[in-house]
């Protein structure tokens, strides 16, 4: 590619980026409340997917306990706002930092595990926190907790958008950083990376803490947005699973992939929910199956494949079936 064309592409990309930003910033003044709510929800899942992408996509560690940090963020924000009357931004930031701190502690233990074992250990950690929240006094126990009611819902749109931008940006700059290289090496072959002098644990902890910080951000905003939280709602494995499916759909280990996945799947889910009261979960289940069989590296990968869609699918099948 010539430098000219490169510059042209960079320009096109800047324009596209500007258009996205403008559309996102202006949406609340154009759309009705339902669409604002819908968009806020989509951003939330985009945020979760982008956060999971840090540990699951870039690092290759299948974290199934992301909701643990979502719950920490939600409860920390709630407790500080209700019991200490802390302003929301302060409470939210504290919640995020707390979650990142917990991630450093737990990560230094859990990140020694690999594969299925890492997956189940993180899930177990999330379930332990869920039950802990149900048994504590300060969280309101199983009865849950009410946060103060905000005057307008549009603020949450912008909070979620901001957190999403942060998450996307993290995914954007990561591959260029030393951490990014180290994580890629760990993902491809951890033992080889070790031989090359990369001590894996600290890098993995950085990715894990980043993932935790962003999950907590989603949780804190969610708590204030919905004003009522209880342990099963925030410490909910559904959040993690959806983030994973969306990331895989959009393309793991890419900056925009998780958001693309979230936008498409959440929109589809919304349409299905309103069309068919009984069968939307069946559709969703079938979609997941079809997706992982035919396009396990995401739709972007398939769309970009040189020989076209069908050939890419055929190649994929040849590779992974027996």
């Amino acid at each position: 590619m010539t430098p000219d064309r490169l510059r042209l592409r960079a320009g096109a990309r800047a324009i596209a980026l500007g258009a996205v930003a403008a559309a996102a910033l202006l949406l609340p003044s154009l759309a009705g409340t339902y669409y604002i709510r819908l968009a806020t929800g989509i951003y939330m899942f985009g945020l979760l997917a982008a956060a999971w992408n840090l540990i699951g996509g870039y690092t290759g560690y299948p974290d199934f306990g992301g909701a643990a940090f979502l719950g920490i963020g939600a409860y920390a924000t709630g407790i500080m706002m209700v019991r200490a009357h802390t302003p929301f931004p302060v409470a939210l930031t504290s919640g995020c930092l707390l979650a990142a701190g917990v991630a450093v502690l737990m990560g230094s233990l859990l990140l020694r595990l690999r594969g299925h074992y890492f997956a189940i250990a993180t899930l177990g950690f999330m379930l332990v926190l869920q039950q802990l929240a149900a048994n504590l006094e300060i969280t309101g126990g199983g009865s849950g907790m009410n946060l103060p009611v905000a005057r307008t819902f549009t603020t949450f749109y912008y909070w979620m958008l901001g957190a999403l931008a942060l998450a996307i940006a993290a995914g954007w700059v990561l591959p260029g950083l030393r951490v990014g290289y180290a994580l890629a090496a760990i993902r491809e072959n951890q033992d080889a990376a070790q031989v090359l002098g990369i001590a894996p644990l600290p890098y993995k902890i950085i990715a894990y803490a980043g993932n935790a910080f962003l999950f907590a951000a989603a949780g804190g905003i969610y708590a204030y947005w919905f004003t009522f939280i209880d342990p099963p709602t925030v410490f909910n494995v559904d959040f993690t699973i959806q983030a994973i499916v969306m990331t895989l759909f959009g393309g793991p280990g890419t900056a925009a992939g998780p958001l693309v996945g979230a936008v498409i799947l959440k929109s589809l889910d919304t349409v299905l929910t309103s069309r068919s009261v009984f069968l939307h979960n069946v559709f969703f289940g079938a979609l997941v199956c079809v997706l992982v069989i035919f396009a396990p590296r995401g739709i972007a990968e398939i769309a970009r494949a040189p020989g076209g869609l069908l050939q890419a699918i055929r190649a994929e099948l040849r590779e992974s079936r027996l």
Partner: protein, 406 residues
């Protein structure tokens, strides 16, 4: 990457455009009423019962020519969405019902947590919501003005059973409470503890279990060693079934088995067979209550109408749901308008006796004027046993020991 970006731009722009084009398409003579309701998830069973109640009301009203407002007859159309038993989805759908589907009014979802989430949305849009399946008092302590609960609040569930229990001889003295760890069940359980302690009953056991627990043999073993007169289960249908099954096989004998949710649903007797005998439950309503009112006639008439349509005798879930629709209808007719604010005011000052009992809302929007009843399963049927003036039969007490049962 550029391709992914293109998709993204298109998506966001499309969403923005779609949001900008919001054309209200309100039918002239159709009254649209929205109801987010669990068709899947943990509350799917109760959600189905609720829907039957709503549907029966809508069909009955429409068969009579609809709701008359001034000179116009409005046909009722209920718009349902599946909230998957999840509060956040329920709230999202409530928003959609109001701002997309432009429903005139709302009926409540099933469950306290979902009702709680939806109430905030209804309040924000100032659209009256009449609900009959969220009994937690906390919903009504938020100062909401547009949310009305036609049912008796959570603490009444336990109180009704205990009030019935202390009229029995020999008077029970000790109570064990086993509660699910969620907002509604805990309000019930705490209500039971308070009432018991203020009325000379001793609470010898009080424990919480996680929602959807699969084994309760350990707490039942402890309860067995304590030998309480009353065993009170505060939870959901599935857990009530579990307690009874395991109490039977572990030979746990109480003189009074009582549950807040479960025994009144048709599944309970079907699933337990003879082990369901003698079980007590509190109920918002039974066909035995002696109330008569507009549209449905008496409680018996309602039960007959329901049975004709669905093939089984309705429990309170269906009745309270029909009553919610009825309350809304009566308020609209009284207001002579479908303006949300006017109808809200009419609801606030509503005071009628219906097949379901008296419907009148206090300042919080809660119907504290209708008493609950206590039922007992006798010969496989749900029979009203308390209060005495409406009960066709008296309670069988004490419950015989398992060893003496067959």
């Amino acid at each position: 990457m550029p391709r992914a970006f293109g998709i993204l731009v298109a998506m966001i722009v499309a969403t923005a455009l779609a949001g900008a084009v919001t054309g209200p398409s309100r039918g002239a003579e159709v009254l649209k009423i929205g109801a987010p309701l669990a068709a899947t998830g943990a509350d799917a069973r109760e959600g189905a019962l609720t829907k039957q109640g709503y549907d029966l009301w809508a069909e009955t009203v429409n068969a009579r020519g609809g709701i008359k407002v001034g000179g116009t007859q409005y046909t009722v159309q209920i718009v349902y969405y599946d909230d998957q038993s999840k509060a956040q989805i329920s709230a999202e759908l409530t928003d959609k019902l109001v701002s997309q589907d432009h429903v005139n009014f709302l009926l409540g979802p099933y469950g306290s947590a979902t009702t709680f989430a939806d109430a905030g949305i209804a309040e924000k849009f100032k659209i009256p919501m009449v609900e009959a399946n969220g009994a937690a008092r906390r919903i009504f302590q938020q100062g909401y003005k547009f949310v009305f609960g036609a049912l008796s609040p959570a603490d009444e569930y336990a109180a009704a059973m205990l009030k019935a229990a202390v009229t029995l001889t020999p008077r029970p003295e000790t109570v064990a409470v086993l509660s699910s760890d969620d907002l509604f069940s805990l309000e019930v359980a705490n209500g039971a503890r308070d009432w018991a302690e203020h009325n000379g009953l001793k609470v010898v056991f009080f424990q919480k279990y996680p929602v959807g627990v699969s084994d309760l043999s350990a707490p039942l073993t402890t309860i067995k060693s304590l030998g309480p007169d009353i065993l009170l289960g505060s939870g959901h249908l599935q857990e009530s079934l579990l307690v009874m099954k395991q109490a039977q096989t572990l030979n746990v004998n109480a003189k009074f088995f009582g549950f807040t949710v479960g025994p009144t649903t048709p599944d309970f007797v079907k699933a337990l067979g003879p082990a369901a005998e003698y079980v007590f439950a509190s109920s918002q309503w039974t066909p035995d209550v002696k109330y008569t009112g507009p549209v449905f006639g008496s409680a018996m008439d309602y039960a007959r109408m329901f049975e004709q349509k669905y093939g089984f005798v309705p429990d309170y879930h269906a009745a309270e749901s029909s009553a919610a629709g009825l309350a809304l209808q009566l308020a609209i007719e009284k207001a002579g308008s479908i303006d949300p604010q006017t109808v809200r005011d009419a609801l606030a000052s509503l005071d009628v006796v219906t097949f379901y009992g008296r419907i009148k809302f206090n300042a919080d929007g809660l119907n504290v004027y209708k008493p609950m009843v206590t039922v007992q399963i006798q010969h496989g049927k749900v029979m009203t046993v308390w209060p005495a003036d409406v009960a066709p039969v008296s309670a069988i007490y004490p419950t015989p020991a398992w060893s003496a049962r067959r």
